[in-house]
């Protein structure tokens, strides 16, 4: 188990949202 700072958690969530958007984009392109 690890304790992430609020800033790290914020950054992780931001990167996750960006990746989800990219995944949706790729699926729309059919790749």
């Amino acid at each position: 188990s690890s304790n992430l700072t609020a800033e790290q958690q914020r950054k992780i969530e931001e990167n996750r949202q960006r990746a989800l958007a990219r995944r949706a984009e790729r699926l729309a392109q059919g790749t």
């Binding site: 188990s1 690890s2 992430l4 790290q8 958690q9 950054k11 992780i12 990167n15 996750r16 960006r18 990746a19 989800l20 958007a21 990219r22 995944r23 949706a24 984009e25 790729r26 790749t31």
Partner: protein, 69 residues
Amino acid sequence: NNGLNPNQNQVLCLIKSCPEPQGISIQELKQRLSGMSMTIIRDVVDFLSNEGHIFSTIDEDHFRSTDQE
């Protein structure tokens, strides 16, 4: 078939199986995938990132899957 090759599937599977909030490190991936070179692992990680299957977390060497909470 999810369109990924065996190496890509193996790496993605390991990343998905890690329960840590910061995800799995590239060093740990290398340890678990002893038969895979670091060059291939980095290539696969780049591909999976570009496709939105995974994302970096606390730094550029830790990864999580977009499929897990």
